[in-house]
């Protein structure tokens, strides 16, 4: 398991279970001087295994509490818009709802709109932002659909006095004057880490394809860029296709079938969003291909494919924390606060790379599924 941003690379629970036995055997063979020493090493390894389990369970933190900040008003009204109607943002929404519930318990009413189009579109996002400008909102939050198109719009809004923040998967481009960002700040590295894991698995040689989400979506593009850069490091590896599924599982499935038709000897697929790995895994299962899949996010079907070994690894983002922290930062921004002691300019949320042996625990954590 690898945790980007906050965690070091860690491998499987399987290894952590096998390791103690191996160590005991080796130490016995080598004539380890005392039983106590063997016991000490075993204890250390067991502690490491427990730590790995803890990391899986903390990949998504559902146990949040509002910090000690005392809001200035008893009612806030926000507008949030994100890239596309999709379960990934539903998970973010649940974090927001938990924060809203906790504010309500403190006597502070937070109302908000949380809106997105059925298909990712920078134009649609601009329309929504224009509508939001005419509404009575304390803060407008944006998950940037296309950094090149949306960032200037956000700058204009800031200039006009609107309080604008970005959140969830995509920040504005460099130079964007939005007040703060809460979400994944390491999409490039997520793409790099997943690709590094794939390369290692393929012994640094072979043909790979890259599936991306929406064109221009910063998070998807950054991950794809990270993937390209890693593949470029290894001369025996080749990118044979790059395709966009516009966050559609069906499209990802069809694209994978097409790629496999063109490259039946395809060795790996790098998936940069939530729908990519599901569609790719369906196609791989159907065709019986041995292609190795690495991908993003916590889709339930994707986790089951991971558990079955169809997907090699998944990068799971802490969507619940993203939603919770977004609403908490929005209240502070609404009160006129700027990034600093109360909140950072970028609130970084973790991504944890999980493998087959972590899938069951993750399914139980996220969906209550006990396999």
């Amino acid at each position: 398991m690898k945790r980007t941003g906050k965690m070091n690379h860690r491998k499987s629970t399987l290894i952590s279970l096998v390791l103690p036995v191996t160590l005991v055997f080796l130490m016995s063979v080598m004539g380890c001087s005392s039983q106590e020493e063997v016991q000490t090493v075993v204890s250390e390894v067991e502690e490491n295994a427990a730590e790995v389990d803890d990391q899986v369970s903390s990949a998504v933190d559902f146990d949040h509490e509002l910090d000690s900040y005392v809001p200035l008003k008893d009612h806030y009204n926000f507008y949030f818009t994100y890239k596309i109607v999709h379960p990934w943002w539903d998970a973010v929404a649940l974090g927001m709802e938990e924060a809203q519930r906790q504010f309500l318990e403190k006597g502070i009413t937070v109302t908000y709109e949380y809106m997105a189009p059925d298909e990712a579109s920078a134009e649609d996002q601009i329309e929504r932002l224009e509508q939001a400008e005419s509404g009575d909102y304390d803060v407008i939050g944006v998950d940037v659909a296309d950094e090149d198109i949306i960032s200037p719009v956000l700058n204009e809004m800031i200039d006009e006095g609107y309080k604008v923040m970005t959140f969830s998967s995509s920040d504005g481009s460099a130079g964007c004057t939005r007040i703060a960002y809460v979400g994944n700040t390491h999409n490039y590295r997520d793409g790099s880490d997943l690709t590094e894991a794939l390369c290692s698995k393929l012994d640094y040689k072979g043909k790979v394809a890259i599936l991306v989400g929406s064109q221009g979506a910063p998070c998807h593009e950054d991950r794809a860029r990270g993937a390209r850069d890693i593949i470029g490091k290894y001369p025996d590896m080749e990118i044979v296709a790059v395709e966009y599924d516009n966050d559609s599982v069906e499209k990802a499935y069809n694209l994978t079938l097409d790629i496999l038709k063109d490259y039946p000897d395809l060795d790996g697929i790098i998936c940069c969003n939530m729908s990519n790995p599901v569609g790719a895994a369906r196609a791989i299962t159907e065709t019986g291909s041995k292609t190795v899949i690495v991908g993003m996010d916590h889709d339930r079907e994707a986790l089951r494919f991971l558990d079955q070994g169809v997907i090699y690894c998944l990068g799971v983002q802490d969507c619940f924390s993203i939603g919770f922290d977004t609403l908490q930062v929005a209240v502070k921004i609404a009160d006129g606060n700027k990034p600093g002691d109360l909140f950072p300019e970028k609130t970084d949320e973790i991504t944890t790379i999980i493998y087959q042996e972590d899938a069951a625990q993750m399914l139980e954590l996220l969906y209550g599924d006990i396999l």
Partner: protein, 507 residues
Amino acid sequence: MTDGDKNTNANTNSNRGFVLTAVIGSALVMTILALSTIWASRKTVSATDEAVSAVSSFYLEAMADQRAQTITNLINNNFEHMNKALTVIQDEEIESQEELRTTLGKIKTLLSLNRFALVDEDNVVYTQYTTYTGESRYDFLHAGELSDRVISTLNLYGSSKQLCLAIPAGDLKVMGKPIKACFVQIDIAEITDLLEFEEHGNAFFGLYTGEGANLSDTDLGMVRAGENILVGTREHIPDALWDKLSTDFAEGNEGSMTLSINGMQETICYAPVPNTGWMMAVLIRESLIHEQIRSISDNNRLVSRILITVTLASMVLFAVILLLQYRRISSVKLETERENSRTFQSMANTDSMTGVRNKHAYSEYEVALNEMIRSGEAKDIAVVVCDINGLKHVNDTKGHAAGGQLIKDASTLICEHFIHGAVFRIGGDEFAVILHDKGFTTLEETFAAFNREVEENILKDKVVVSIGYSVLLPEDEQLHDAFERADNMMYKRKKELKTMGAVTRGT
């Protein structure tokens, strides 16, 4: 042995027989009582075991149906409230987002609806605090137009599971937008609370989807909370039973089965929850119930044993007391009989006029002494023969009453002097006295004193008694030998007293 002794012996034998019969009878009755109690308690245990199996299935089916009905009632109540809510909104003429949120808040409070929301034709969801695009969140929105009630299960990120109930909103418009539906979300944990059992430890319930996923997050015997029931039972039950379970769950059929897992007997019963696609499963651990019943039976058996022991001990104690009482009564009765016998014997041997022993008594006494004489045991024995002077004369001249009085006076005189002797009236005017021991050693003085008083009585015209005596000699073969000698002496004395003026028969 006398007739009385024979009767006493016969009575004693008869009593022993009675007591023995009573003891054996009681022991038999107690044995039958004890055996029947043990048999009855064993019979009760086996009958209870059979009854538990029969009743538990019936009980489980009732529990499963009852709980399924509870959920159905909850769903129907919510649908009813949602219809009322739509009517309220229709009447409100809502024109702004703020008004809508206020109205939704009121409805939620008034009708106790959890997370009540409206959905417009663009699948935008309106709740009391938020407005959001919800197509990816609710399966029922994928279908487009909503024509009827929809009951669905939401598996939310974060493992929360909710029941979602939606109804079409008709021609309702809010802020100029057509409203497609309204819906509520009910946390399944809240439903689970409604279904909780009181029988902790022995009975379990679980709410499952048709695919076997656990919705209620409750243990169902060996199936852990959150675990798919089909996965949890796979290793523990035969293939045929597991196939039936899978099919019943998939098709929403009622069913029941008894499983034996790790030596634990478990009966599971399941029933579909109408219109939800859910299955309500109830499980009872018969082994635990059997253990409890066995424990109760063991206690009952112990109580029965104690009861039997106490009863037996009481019976034995009672029998002993009865026996002692009976023996005491018999002893008293025997003593009374002996006393009566003695009294009768005394009456038979006593002279009714004087109160001294009569001729019959003298005869018995004589027989006994003769036996002693024959065996050589008799020594220091003397016989005194007494005869009243002038009794006939008194009878003839003064009447029989005076004669009787004379006899009494004579008896008194004899008894007063021969206080250490056995006095017998052996004829109308004749008495005999047998002397032993002290009476024998003081014979001479007593004889002299008696004669002195008699001689004085002549002068006083009182009773006069002629006496003669003789000691038993070694050559005497019987008492009568000494009696004759004493009798001769008495006649001599009678003549002597006549000379002194005493009245005699010939006077």
